[in-house]
Amino acid sequence: MVQNFLKLEIPSKSENESLARIVISAFAAQLDPTIEEISDLKIAVSEAVTNAIIHAYDSEEGIIYIHAFLEENKLTLEVIDHGMGIEDLEQARQPLFTTKPELERSGMGFTIMESFMDKVEVESFPGQGTTVRMVKEINKNKKVQSKEG
């Protein structure tokens, strides 16, 4: 059984979006994921980190905490900020909803996280911050195949 974890703290700079993607794909590599699974994880972490930079900290400097946990073939990712929080979570998760259309935001961030991960939970407290917790089972299909074979 594989058990491992990672904790990363980064300032809310847009340069760190690609850093977060690289770190998460390198961490996930120990589960021998498919190219598609790596791409799913990269896009999910990218959306959560970008949200923290643009919305939580509103382009001011703050700290983003990225935690990843491995348990067997299950990867849990947490992206935590201590920014402004989300007033209406249900509205924020609606496809195409954005509070910043002037910045050409597509409003697809949460929809993408939900589509590419197995589970997405969001906890937010206005004025205190937001935690996005996402879970993805890696090699789901491979496991089924080996059982059949």
Binding site: S14, S18, R21, E36, E47, E104, R105, M108
Partner: protein, 111 residues
Amino acid sequence: MEIELKLVRKNLIVRLKGELDHHTASCFREEVEREFEKEIAQNLVLNLGELTFMDSSGLGVILGRYRRITEKGGKVVVTNMQPQVERLYSLSGLQKIIPHYRREEEALRNL
């Protein structure tokens, strides 16, 4: 991200190489806006063949160019999409408004 620009008649071909995210989106926006301000190009052909990553910030900036260009009567098309970019493209519904061609030549013939 690297951006290569090429003008073919009234069509601006933009070839993107690398990753299109929130960090690189503004560079892409500025380069394309600067070209269209010259008022030579009318249509935008976006070649995503060497784009290895795109997220919702990429969708937003492409949609932003689509709005600006179609307002002035121009067209926007994308070409050479990689499978991972194409998955995002269909999920977002962008495929319903921005046509996708396999190759640049094919896109140019249809503009």
